[in-house]
Each structure stands twice: as structure tokens, then as C-alpha cells.
């Protein structure tokens, strides 16, 4: 299914659920059809079928003519707006056409280029609307959803908030967010272990966040893969909980290097689990000296104000910039 991250189950598909209306839309087919598209492209040397899964998926739909109209339309615009890919192909043609000594073909093609191109579009879309998009990453069970719930309850009367929830299965998290009082879209990645930019693009269109609002993206609980995938967010924020141990930042340095803020959650449990706050902060700074660290308890509200103030400041900075 994923094609970029190998941890995906080949038989799963990605879907998006609006928990308010219950409408489910499939974002990606299961991989049996993708595999056919792959095989076909390999056999025929089709140039554009291989660049990324999003295109794959929709190329397949186009080939077979059973795409939903709106999905189809989105993708056409995606495909058309990727001059990057075409440049590469043109360069290559040119070089090859000149003769026999071009045995080595220079590409310098970004392996995550497709995702990055869509992420850049998302970023422009968010910036144009003055929407502050934040990508929350953590291991499963660190309390991301609880933190978002507490944030929503505190701020929803001051600022419009919407949420994209990423999980492999279920709408539990989006249901919790909706119960907290704001719109939420659940993206089910099937066996996929992270959100990708095209999923966020579709979910953001469905949510249609108001200008000046907050768009909180809760990634799939995983400290590895989400570090590599830009979604177009203003920044990544890691959540780590006191029950996980102080050495998580050292074990997963790529993730902690990719974030600007680290929120240490479940501080209410710190005394009970022997959590060493100073050691944890040292470990975070060892891999990311510039990271801001905010220690809170989403459950008890301990020091939550420091996080809320920081969030409003981020939003204020964005409004000034726009």
C-alpha cells in the first residue's frame, strides 16, 4: 500500500472518515490494484506511473474509470503541478539523445520527492489562509489525544480548531476530539505507520479550516517513520510521556531532531515511575539542542498553561507574518 515505507501491509487501504457525518472516503486502494499498476508500468516503461503512490492510485482509477469525481479532480491537479518530475524526464531525454557516451545518467531525484512536493503545496495552502498546522508525533500511548482534548477544551472559545487524526484503524480518537467540541477527520492508514502529505491534503480540504484557525494533526503513534514525511505543517511537535523512560530521545534521535517543541506529558505520574526530568531534558538537548521543552500533565492540567501560551504565541507569530 505505502510504497515508500515498507512496513505497510500490502492488502490494506487508506480511508478518511468524517466522524460528524459518518461519510467514509477511500484515499488509496489496496495494494493488489497498485501492484497491477506497478507491473503494468514496469512492463511498458510508463514514465509517470512510478513517481509516487498517490499518482499510482489515481492512475489506476483513471485507467479503470471507476474513480469518484472529486477524488479524480484533486489528483489531476496534483499531477499537473509537478514540474519537478517532468524536468527530470526531459533532462534525461536530452542527455540520452546525444549519443553513446552517456552511460551514466545523472538524476539527483529525491526519493521522497513526491511527498515533499505535495507537502509544499499544503504548506502554501495553510500559510495563505493563516492556518497554523502542527504535526504531533509520539509513540503510541504518550497522551497525544489527551493533550489535544485538553488544548481544545481550553482554547476552543478563543480560536477555531480542527483536527486530523491518524491511526491505523478505528475512529476512536476522532470521536474523542469531536466530543471535545471541534471538527475532526479520521484518516485510517490501514497498516501504514505514518501520515503522508496527500492524506493531509485531502483531509484538510474536507475540514476546510477557517482563516486564522489551528489545524492540529495527530500522526500515527510511531517514533520512526513520521520523522521522514513532511506533511506541510508549520512544525512537528513531539510528545513523550514520563512512563516511557528518559532515554527515548537517544533511542529515536531522528524524530527528536525533526521537532521544534517537545512536550513531556503525564508529569502527574513522574514521582510514581521514578521519572528523572533533568536526565530527560538532557537527552532531548543531546540530540536537538534547540528544542523547547514543556512539561505538562494533560490529565490534571499541571503546567498546561505554559503549553497553551506557547501555542497562542505561535499562532500570533503566524498572524503577524500573514
Amino acid at each position: 500500500m505505502c510504497g515508500v515505507c515498507g512496513c505497510a501491509d500490502p492488502n490494506s487501504e487508506v480511508s478518511m472518515i468524517d466522524v460528524k457525518t459518518g461519510v467514509t472516503r477511500k484515499l488509496r486502494d489496496s495494494a493488489s490494484s497498485l501492484a497491477e499498476a506497478h507491473a503494468f508500468a514496469h512492463a511498458h516503461g510508463l514514465p509517470h506511473d512510478h513517481l509516487h503512490d498517490h499518482t499510482h492510485h489515481h492512475d489506476h482509477l483513471r485507467d479503470h474509470g471507476h474513480s469518484k469525481a472529486d477524488a479524480h479532480g484533486h489528483v489531476q491537479s496534483h499531477s499537473h503541478d509537478h514540474p519537478h518530475d517532468h524536468d527530470h524526464i526531459h533532462d534525461h531525454d536530452h542527455g540520452h539523445g546525444h549519443g553513446t557516451d552517456n552511460r551514466v545518467v545523472a538524476l539527483e531525484a529525491a526519493i521522497l520527492g513526491k511527498n515533499d512536493a505535495i507537502a509544499a503545496r499544503n504548506r502554501g495552502w495553510f500559510e495563505g489562509r493563516g492556518v497554523l498546522a502542527l504535526n504531533f508525533v509520539s509513540s503510541p500511548g504518550s497522551g497525544k489525544t489527551a493533550l489535544l482534548e485538553a488544548t481544545i477544551r481550553a482554547l476552543k472559545d478563543q480560536v477555531a480548531i480542527s483536527v486530523i487524526e491518524g491511526d491505523q484503524m478505528t475512529t476512536h480518537d476522532a470521536d474523542r476530539i469531536r466530543a471535545a467540541g471541534v471538527p475532526a477527520i479520521q484518516v485510517n492508514t490501514g497498516a501504514g505507520c505514518h501520515l503522508e502529505a496527500d492524506m493531509v491534503a485531502e483531509a484538510a480540504r474536507a475540514l476546510n479550516p477557517a482563516p486564522g484557525s489551528l489545524l492540529l494533526i495527530e500522526n500515527v503513534g510511531n517514533l520512526v517513520c513520521p520523522a521522514m514525511f513532511d506533511l506541510g505543517e508549520a512544525m512537528k511537535i513531539a510528545v513523550i510521556s514520563t512512563t516511557e523512560g528518559e532515554d527515548k530521545p537517544l533511542k529515536y534521535p531522528h524524530m527528536f531532531r525533526a521537532v521544534k517543541i517537545v512536550i513531556v506529558n503525564k508529569m502527574d505520574l513522574a514521582p510514581h515511575v521514578g521519572f528523572d526530568e533533568a536526565a530527560c531534558c538532557d537527552n532531548i538537548r543531546a540530540v536537538n539542542p534547540a528544542a523547547e521543552i514543556i512539561c505538562v500533565s494533560a490529565k490534571t492540567g499541571q503546567n498546561l498553561k505554559a503549553w497553551l501560551d506557547r501555542l497562542l504565541l505561535l499562532r500570533g507569530d503566524l498572524q503577524l507574518a500573514v
Binding site: G3, V4, G6, R103, V105, L107, E108, C225
Partner: protein, 80 residues
């Protein structure tokens, strides 16, 4: 567990640009912060390319900066 998918992605990019010409080797540029384990990627490359037009091709690595992760180039095999 990334590397399998990354190998697929590299094979897709090369397959697209090769346009049916026989490929001898592929070189990828990897920065120290790219989050890519070379041994795992090389292992996955063999699995991914098995029974495809890229079977038997070599996957070479070039040191790069930062989080660079690109297909640097590929070499076309001379027809005998």
C-alpha cells in the same frame, strides 16, 4: 523497516527513467541524518529487484550531507 519501501521507491524512480534499457548499477546519495541504514537498504534492494528488469543491478552509496536521500545516477549496461 523503512528500507524496504525506500528500495521500492528507488526501483520505481530508476525503472521510470531507464525506459527499458538494461541497467548495470544505481547510486544513491545518503546523508548522515537521512534515517537510512545502508546494509538494510542493500538487503532490500536485492529482494525488491528480484525477478524484475533491475535484477542483479548493484546499489552503490555516496556520502552526502544532512538529510540528503536521492537517486544520484544510474549506469546503463553496454550491450555486448
Amino acid at each position: 523497516m523503512h528500507e524496504l519501501g525506500m528500495a521500492r521507491s528507488i526501483a520505481a524512480i530508476v525503472g521510470e527513467h531507464a525506459r527499458g534499457r538494461p541497467i548495470k548499477g544505481v547510486r544513491v546519495a545518503i546523508g548522515p541524518h537521512a534515517c537510512i541504514e545502508r546494509g538494510a537498504l542493500a538487503f532490500c534492494w536485492d529482494i525488491v529487484t528480484e525477478k524484475t528488469a533491475l535484477a542483479g543491478t548493484t546499489l552503490g552509496f555516496i556520502d552526502a550531507e544532512g538529510d540528503t536521500f536521492t537517486v544520484r545516477d544510474f549506469e546503463i549496461r553496454e550491450e555486448a
